[in-house]
């Protein structure tokens, strides 16, 4: 029977943020003797390439530059803002990291624009002008597969300070979908500075703001509970006016499950009139699950943020040594209004320094995620560095305090942050080693704990990453460490119990869960874990009682019905069990345990097509579950579909290649299809894995005899009898062989 342990897993806190520039003016002399610069000749191509992505009707820019007359209206302005490099918006210093979509004019472009304006903005021959790019008035990326809208329109006042607000968009579907692209239509793009989307796997933010979420919740950053499964939040879902569509690289879609929420964190700028914002998110699906699983890593040192009033060059640093080889795909530096110079680099194992990014004049209003043109390969033992300089003097025009005051870390805009996020894809991982993301997680959490030894989230995540790697004793020690600092922490107790059980100490695990339920009778997770453990250890009636209590106390949950079903089935109440499994499926058609167990019941009662249907659904829900494939193989075999049975046993073997019973089963299925030679090989593999199996030797003998290899068959039967002298079949089979 399968048991679910919701406690195993990590809490990942994702922080969000929101986000100005001074520049050196390119002071080249404009030479009036240059050949004529005209709109049609040089300027339109430059504007279409660099400006109109935002500056078109309905776009994120405040006015359109699509036509000659529009550009003429703004000509003088274009010179000012390009010379100061305010436009196009681009913070990173050229040459410190090679980024895709670098939005930066060359010095020659800027000179040309100035020449054009100085010459009176001549149009040139309109017939030679390139056609203006076309922008859709609705979805740029086509009609989405699913559109999510904010619950209620948000009313932004006409004036005042910038607004940072979080809107919850519940994912309404009952099926998991993979997302290959996302487009955000903010409703009033010109007042939205940027938007960041977070996936809230557990709807934790919505639950934390039950009466407020429909209207949006104020705040620059937010934290969400990533839930109980190790599922590192792996994608930057960052919107800014020039990138309305976020298309994921091939093989890297992201996932939405029933019950998930998207949280749209928006930075809004009052426009001078009241604005109504009805943001929409368009999702584009793909059938293809991800083949690559990147992970977001964070360097940070918020605890070092204690910036005295007036300090001009306050430095905050962090370092992180990579435990595995990675490709860095993207980077997101983040500070609030006091940040001045934001730098990140890598020191390679050979001490070579490689710049990841340098922002010489930070501006929170122009913050962005930057994606590398080519992945940046960093080998194991590379040290990542974050080096941020803050300016809390009155000379920093972004300083929210007048006069400056002492500033510490926090998620209000007037507090500070020192964060650096990197999207990394582990590469060159050992095939049979632990998930490299668990190694990254462990190293990340150890780094956090080195800075803040009592950080409960880091302690918990460290313990979980250890448990995930199968280092149960270390995990138990880490949970105990956390519980010493935070006695009675429900999630840590659940994690401790699960790690104890996985380490083989189920009695102590049961004590932990029992203690948890006694201290917190309302703890649904604790009770569920206790019930599941009782199920696993033949205490079905105790488990039944726990599940029945949960049906009264906990939210309707398919898992409780299916757990109760398992308990009832163990107690011999097959009909009652079946009813509970049906209830589980009514609440969640994808509940694995219900599908698996109903499939098994169908198999036992000879309803083979029904068994195939249910077990096939179960195997699709958990493609990594060897038992599901094995039972499905059985159902196929019973239905006479031997070829399908062979495929399913092979699938099970790919998951558990060391399981001798699976190889023996494959041998039987292959023999039934007539493939004697392969059948013999598989049986030999089974006996190679577990040689002390009299039945196995007897079966091998039968196969050898059928293949006409009587000598080998004789040796096999004798081997069986050597292990079990009373093995009647082996003895009889031996007698059937022709004399040697």
């Amino acid at each position: 029977m399968k048991n679910r342990f919701p406690a195993r897993g990590l809490v990942l806190l994702a922080t969000l943020a929101a986000c100005f520039v001074t520049i050196s003016v390119t002071n080249r002399k404009v030479d009036a003797a240059q050949p004529d610069v005209t709109w049609s000749g040089q300027i339109a191509p430059l504007v279409y390439k660099n400006c109109t992505t935002c500056h078109h009707p309905g776009g994120g820019g405040p006015f359109s530059l699509l036509t000659y007359h529009e550009a003429q209206r703004w000509g003088a302005q274009m010179v000012t803002v390009t010379q100061s490099r305010f436009m196009p918006p681009w913070l990173p210093e050229h040459g410190f990291g090679d980024f895709a979509d670098e939005r930066r004019l060359s010095s020659e472009d800027i000179v040309q624009l100035a020449q054009w304006v100085k010459a009176g903005m001549p149009e040139g021959d309109p017939a030679t002008a390139p056609p203006a790019p076309k922008y859709s008035e609705t979805w740029q990326y086509g009609q989405p597969d699913l559109v999510l809208s904010v619950e209620r329109p948000f009313h932004l006042p006409a004036s005042g300070v910038d607004v940072f607000r979080n809107f919850v968009l519940p994912y309404p579907l009952k099926q998991t979908h993979y997302i290959r692209a996302m487009e955000i239509r903010p409703g009033a793009p010109q007042i939205v500075h940027h938007a960041n989307v977070l996936i809230d796997r557990t709807a934790s933010f919505r639950r934390a703001h039950p009466t407020q979420w429909q209207d949006g919740v104020p705040g620059m950053e937010l934290e969400v509970d990533a839930g109980n499964d190790f599922d590192p939040d792996s994608h930057f879902l960052f919107w800014k006016p020039d990138t309305p569509v976020l298309v994921e690289p091939a093989g890297m879609p992201w996932r939405l499950d029933p019950g998930n929420d998207l949280i749209l964190n928006m930075h809004l700028k009052p426009s001078g009139k009241p604005e109504v914002i009805t943001a929409q998110v368009g999702l584009y699906f793909t059938d293809q699950p991800p083949t690559k699983q990147p992970m977001l890593l964070q360097l940070e040192h918020d605890s070092a943020l204690d910036i005295p009033a007036g300090a001009r060059n306050f430095v905050v640093e962090d370092e992180f040594k990579l435990p595995v080889d990675v490709d860095v795909l993207g980077i997101y530096p983040h500070a609030h209004y006091l940040g001045k110079v934001l730098e990140a680099w890598a020191t390679l194992p050979d001490q070579q320094k490689r710049w990841l990014i340098r922002i010489p004049d930070w501006d929170i209003d122009r913050q962005s995620v930057y994606r590398y043109r080519e992945p940046v390969f960093l080998p194991k033992n590379t040290v990542l560095h974050m080096h941020y300089i803050y300016d809390n003097s009155p000379d920093n025009v972004h300083n929210p305090h007048d006069p400056p005051i002492r500033v510490k870390a926090g998620n209000r805009s007037e507090d500070e942050m020192a964060h650096l996020w990197l999207q990394v894809l582990p590469v060159n991982a050992k095939k049979d080693g632990p998930d490299p993301r668990l190694l990254l997680e462990e190293a990340w959490m150890r780094n956090k704990l080195a800075k803040d030894p009592d950080d409960p989230i880091a302690l918990y995540n460290l313990a979980s990453s250890l448990a995930g790697q199968g280092k149960y004793a270390d995990a138990v020690a880490a949970y105990r460490h956390m519980l010493a600092l935070h006695p009675g922490d429900e999630r840590a107790l659940n994690g401790l119990g699960a790690a104890l059980d996985d380490s083989g100490d189920w009695q102590r695990a049961q004590n932990v869960f029992s203690g948890l339920v006694a201290a917190h009778p309302e703890s649904c997770d604790g009770r569920f874990n206790l019930a599941s453990l009782e199920l696993k250890h033949d205490q079905a009636s105790d488990a039944e009682q726990q599940f029945r209590t949960m049906l009264k106390q906990c939210p309707a949950d398919a898992g409780v019905h299916s757990g109760l079903g398992v308990a009832l089935a163990s107690e011999g109440s097959a009909d009652a069990a079946q009813a509970e499994f049906q209830r589980a499926l009514a609440s969640d058609p994808h509940d694995f345990i219900a599908l698996y167990n109903l499939g098994d019941l169908a198999l036992q009662s000879g309803q083979f097509p029904r068994a195939v249907e249910l077990l096939d659904s179960a195997a699709q829900q958990r493609p990594g579950d060897a038992d599901a494939h094995e039972h499905l193989a059985d159902a196929y075999a019973q239905s006479g579909r031997l070829g399908d049975a062979v495929i399913q046993v092979r699938a099970a073997i790919r998951i558990s290649p060391e399981n001798p019973a699976l190889h023996a089963l494959l041998s039987q299925a292959l023999a039934a299809t007539g493939d004697l030679q392969q059948a013999i090989e598989e049986q030999k593999t089974a006996l190679h894995l577990a040689g002390n199996d009299a039945d196995g030797w007897n079966n091998l003998g039968v196969l050898e005899a059928r293949a006409g290899r009587n000598t080998e068959a004789r040796a096999d039967f004798l081997h069986a009898l050597q292990i079990a002298p009373d093995h009647a079949q082996a003895r009889a089979n031996l007698g059937h062989l022709p004399p040697s």
Binding site: F20, I23, R73, V81, S84, F86, S159, P270, K273, P400
Partner: protein
């Protein structure tokens, strides 16, 4: 800071504007020949552009000041100097932004030249001086915008308001602490 030096030179200039003929037009095409009705103690010209985001962001603040200072004899005008801002465009804009302050179309840019402004948003304050108007302040409204990309979360120094209070108290208006930031006025004669 060459701008400041020029400003200082202009501070004493007397603009003989009132009563000298058509200065601008209202939204119905009628000529505006008097900016300061009898009894006015000061006139504020707010140079605006319907399509300039920074100019638009100041509308609520300017409307607040128009109301607040009206009782003390200050008359404010929203002045639209750009060629594209004709009566139709400005009427729609005034309605969109709920603008109740008197509006002037500076189609000939007479007011621009009289005030020596170059940017929207930019303000000019005049006081009656004999039969004319004397410019006593010109420049930014406050210090929220220091430069493009240098924006304070909120203004710390309210230059226009300080200037008005000084003038109403019979004191010289302190000059602005920095240049106006916004969109260049599209000049009629480049």
């Amino acid at each position: 800071m060459t701008g400041l030096a020029i400003r200082a030179l202009l501070a004493g200039m007397v603009m003989f504007a009132a009563g000298t003929g058509r200065l601008a037009t209202d939204l119905d095409g009628n000529a505006i020949d008097q900016l300061a009705p009898a009894g006015s103690r000061a006139v504020v010209l707010f140079f605006a552009a319907s399509d300039c985001p920074i100019s638009n962001r100041y509308i609520p603040e300017m409307q607040r000041m128009a109301k607040e200072f009206a009782a003390r004899g200050v008359r404010m005008w929203f002045v639209y100097p750009n060629p594209g801002d004709d009566a139709k465009v400005v009427r729609a804009h005034d309605s969109e932004y709920a603008i109740s302050t008197p509006t002037a179309l500076d189609t000939t840019q007479t007011l621009v030249q009289m005030a020596h402004v170059t940017i929207t948003p930019e303000v000019a304050v005049f006081v009656p001086d004999g039969s004319g108007l004397r410019e006593v302040y010109r420049g930014r409204i406050d210090d929220r915008y220091i430069a493009f990309g240098r924006e304070r979360p909120q203004a710390q120094h309210h230059d226009l308001e300080d200037a008005l209070r000084a003038v109403l108290d019979g004191q010289p208006a302190p000059p602005p602490g920095g240049p106006p930031i916004g969109c260049s006025i599209v000049t009629l004669h480049p």
